[in-house]
């Protein structure tokens, strides 16, 4: 059985997030004044073939650094669970 990696890519703190800004404004306009800061990032699900959890860990980290996240403007974190 393999793994399911869930990767969360978010704009770095301090980096402008025009999308989040626009969504926040329109949520206010839609009548949700309670909404504070909005940050919009990516949610990536990866199926991984059978490998050890450790190697899954290291390889997904690598994938994030190399491709999935743009380290200059984005942070990432991920979880790895046995595939159901």
């Amino acid at each position: 059985m393999g793994w399911l990696a869930r990767v969360y890519v978010t704009p770095k703190q301090g980096v402008l997030d025009p999308q989040g800004k626009a969504v926040q404004q329109s949520l206010h306009a839609l009548g949700y004044p309670e909404v504070g800061e909005v940050r919009i990032g990516k949610f990536i699900e990866l199926q991984l073939a059978e490998v050890s959890r450790e190697s899954a860990q290291t390889r997904v980290t690598e994938m994030c650094n190399r491709l999935l996240a743009n380290g200059v403007i984005e942070d990432f974190r991920f979880t790895i669970d046995p595939e159901s």
């Binding site: 301090g14 980096v15 491709l67 743009n70 200059v72």
Partner: protein, 743 residues
């Protein structure tokens, strides 16, 4: 904190620059003042190494309404209209983050144009990347092109032209130069002046964050090295949507209905709030008091230092008349933009800023502007090495010219750029008459019969071999591109991309390029009305090839007279204007086929170029030309192929060339890059008239063949189906980029 010379050094200032600062202030600067000096005296803002040379450029002429010194240059094009244009570099930010770097580069040049009251109608861009096979190239190309498209498409300004070149000399330092042209009533040009004691200074647009703090001094003015990573300021992210709102709101404010409320307006570009207030006060001969506590902020924990130096995008600074604040606020509110009063104009000649009631800046403005350092750095010609000589007889002539032609048309620097400009909205605005794919872009001027033509050109290989001749050649090619499109050259902007000015041989290249720019612009009567200098394009000590990108603008009195480069009709005569010489020095053929970058550059005679252009324009006015194409990289054979294949929707007609004067080596005849040549096609019955015109201008004219069938045949050297040629040429860039690893 205690300010010492070390603090100054950390800010990229030199020890004696710091001494000058203490002298100017007659005390130790505050950290904020030091920050202000460091950005205003950075190469990027102060032009300290180039100013002395730039003074030599021709900047005046009957059409010039605004020369260098404002946000952009302006030329009178008649009918009460002016065109406003400029080119800017965003090289280092684009290397750090290609998509956002290129996008914010476009955003910045757009602000320079609408700051003057002009509505931007066209973007062009000049790009230089490393070798196509370099592991990072595909990633950088994708990001840069994506970023340019993202910003221009979203804000709704057509991207209609440019150039792309690949060369290992840019492996670690790509070039992204963005050009914008706008249109404004010739009596409605706005300038960035702060005048009228007590007038409020207003801030409009995005909130201020920590973006790109010290971008100007660190990124744009200091050479790149490994720990740029750590030095790297927060990358600026572009918000074209906000800029679109800003654009519309600012143009509304500058329209007759509101403009009486406005005194001066200036975008916040490099060095943000600091440079915009300093420049406005400087030009107005006034002073400015700012209350930094009133600046709209995006993040907590920002210091006055951050606020002064932030390079957050999509912000403008206004000086309005006392009492107009509410009108202005209302106008911007319509566009969901905040406008805040953050200070007022004084007559002190000083920039003063307070933060929570505390004075953090109180400095004279003159030392920041006219008083900035000017360096006459040593310039030394590098010793010529004999490796640069080209001995033709040692160069084996190829056997199969069909293969060589296809090889060239497939090479990264000659293949179709469609993959690039397909990602740009070329239609928006509704005035694009000639889209990318011909010698120059042609855009109609709304409500007139007129159109402007625009082109960006620079062959950095030529400039590397001989920066003077190379730059003259770039100006000449630009002029030919315009003429071939039916437009008369009227003005120039330029972006001078060079290595470190602290290297005598780079300074020599720079000096030579400026001389070439000057001589060529004088010859063509095209004043230089704006431009930009980008030094320190280096990585680990290696300088890029000198890259003086020429942006030239031309005018068509009658848009109906525009000409495109592809053949139009079976049976038309194909005519070569100009002479072929046995010149292969610095050619694409030499580089691609023989892997050599060397030789004496093709000989160039500006008087011949002028006469060639005059005759082409004359023929255009009489409606004789069915097509016209300038001969440049790849030479005659490549140019002829382009005449057959570059039409977007076809038909793709063949050419039968049998009257091509020989007498020189076949490879030089086909691929030599001699200047002063334009290929035109005309109806047979117009040949005599064309010959009269050419004779009057004393231009060599040869009828070399005719438009015929669906093959390209050149003497007994080349014989290929047009479809094959188009096939190989069209998809080559995408194939090459897909082939390389990427990131």
């Amino acid at each position: 904190m205690r300010i010492t010379v070390e603090t100054a050094l950390q800010h990229g200032l030199t020890a004696d620059e710091y001494a000058r600062i203490e002298a100017a202030l007659q005390r130790t600067p505050t950290i904020e003042e030091l920050g202000v000096f460091s950005v205003m005296w950075s190469e990027h803002c102060s032009y300290k190494s180039s100013r002395a040379y730039l003074r030599g450029l021709p900047t005046s002429g009957p059409r010039v309404l605004q020369g260098p010194g404002e946000n952009a240059g302006a030329l009178d094009v008649g009918d009460g209209l002016a065109v406003v244009f400029k080119i800017e570099s965003h090289n280092h930010p684009s290397f750090v983050e290609p998509f956002q770097g290129a996008a914010t580069g476009v955003g910045g040049i757009l602000r320079d144009i609408f700051t003057m009251g002009a509505r931007p109608i066209a973007n062009l861009n000049s790009l230089r990347f490393g070798g196509i096979a370099h592991p990072r190239t595909a990633y950088l190309v994708g990001g840069v092109v994506g970023g340019i498209g993202h910003y221009g498409n979203c804000i709704g300004v057509a991207t209609v032209g440019g150039e792309v070149a690949f060369d290992p000399g840019y492996d670690h330092n790509i070039l992204v130069n963005a050009f914008t042209l706008g249109v404004v009533g010739s009596d409605r040009i706005f300038r960035a002046r702060a005048e009228g004691v007590g007038n409020p200074v207003m801030y409009v647009g995005s909130k201020t964050g920590k973006d790109g703090i010290h971008g100007a001094s660190l990124l744009a003015s200091a050479e790149f090295d490994a720990d740029s990573e750590s030095k790297r300021p927060t990358v600026q992210v572009g918000d074209p949507f906000t800029e679109k709102l800003l654009l519309e709101a600012c143009l509304a404010l500058m329209s007759p209905a509101y403009s009486d409320h406005l005194v001066g307006i200036q975008d916040m570009g490099a060095a943000g709030l600091t440079s915009s207030s300093v420049e406005m006060a400087g030009r107005g001969g006034s002073g400015i008091d700012l209350d930094l506590s009133r600046v709209p902020l995006r993040e907590q924990g920002m210091t006055p230092y951050d606020i002064l130096l932030s390079e957050s995008q999509e912000r403008m600074l206004l000086v309005v008349h006392k009492g107009s604040e509410d009108v202005v606020r209302e106008l911007f509110a319509k566009w969901d933009l905040d406008a805040a009063v953050i200070g007022h104009v004084t007559d002190t000649g000083r920039l003063r800023a307070t933060w929570e009631g505390r004075q953090v800046v109180d400095m004279p403005i003159a030392p920041l502007t006219d008083g900035a350092p000017v360096y006459h750095r040593p310039a030394v010609e590098p010793s010529a090495d004999d490796g640069a000589k080209l001995v033709l007889r040692e160069l084996a002539e190829p056997r199969d010219y069909n293969q060589i032609l296809l090889q060239l048309l497939e090479s990264p620097n000659l293949c179709s750029r469609e993959w690039v400009y397909r990602q740009y909205d070329t239609y928006v605005g509704g005035n694009t008459v000639v889209r990318p794919g011909s010698d120059a872009a042609v855009v109609r001027l709304d409500g007139t019969q007129k159109a402007v033509a625009m082109t960006l050109d620079c062959n950095s290989r030529l400039c590397l071999l001989d920066p003077y001749v190379g730059t003259v050649s770039a100006v000449a090619e630009a002029a030919r591109n315009l003429a071939a499109s039916g437009a008369e050259p009227i003005g120039v902007t330029n972006c001078l991309n060079f290595g470190s000015p602290e290297k005598p041989e780079v300074m020599w290249q720079f000096q030579q390029a400026i001389a070439g720019l000057r001589d060529a612009c004088v010859a063509f009567g095209t004043p230089v009305v704006s431009g930009n200098v980008s030094f320190y394009n280096e990585t680990e000590g290696r300088s890029i090839p000198p890259t003086p990108v020429i942006g030239m603008v031309g005018l068509l009195e009658d848009v109906g007279q525009h000409v495109t480069q592809w053949f139009k009709g079976e049976g038309d005569a194909i005519v070569l204007l100009g002479r072929n010489r046995e010149e292969l020095g610095g050619s694409e053929y030499l580089a691609v086929v023989h892997h050599q970058v060397r030789g004496t550059l093709p000989w160039i005679d500006l008087d011949i170029e002028r006469r060639l252009i005059r005759s082409v324009l004359h023929a255009t006015r009489e409606g004789l030309l069915r097509s016209a194409h300038d001969v440049s990289e790849g030479g005659l054979a490549v140019a002829l192929a382009e005449c057959c294949i570059t039409s977007e929707s076809g038909p793709h007609l063949g050419a039968h060339i049998d009257e091509l004067e020989g007498g020189i080596r076949a490879d030089a005849l086909l691929f030599g890059e001699s200047h002063g040549r334009i290929i035109v096609s005309v109806r047979r019955r117009n040949l005599t008239r064309l010959r009269e015109i050419a004779r009057r201008e004393d231009v060599v004219m040869t009828t070399i063949g005719e438009v015929r069938g669906h093959r390209l045949e050149i003497n007994d050297l080349v014989d290929l189906p047009v479809t094959t040629i188009r096939e190989r040429w069209r998809g080559a860039l995408q194939r090459a980029l897909a082939g390389s690893p990427g990131e």
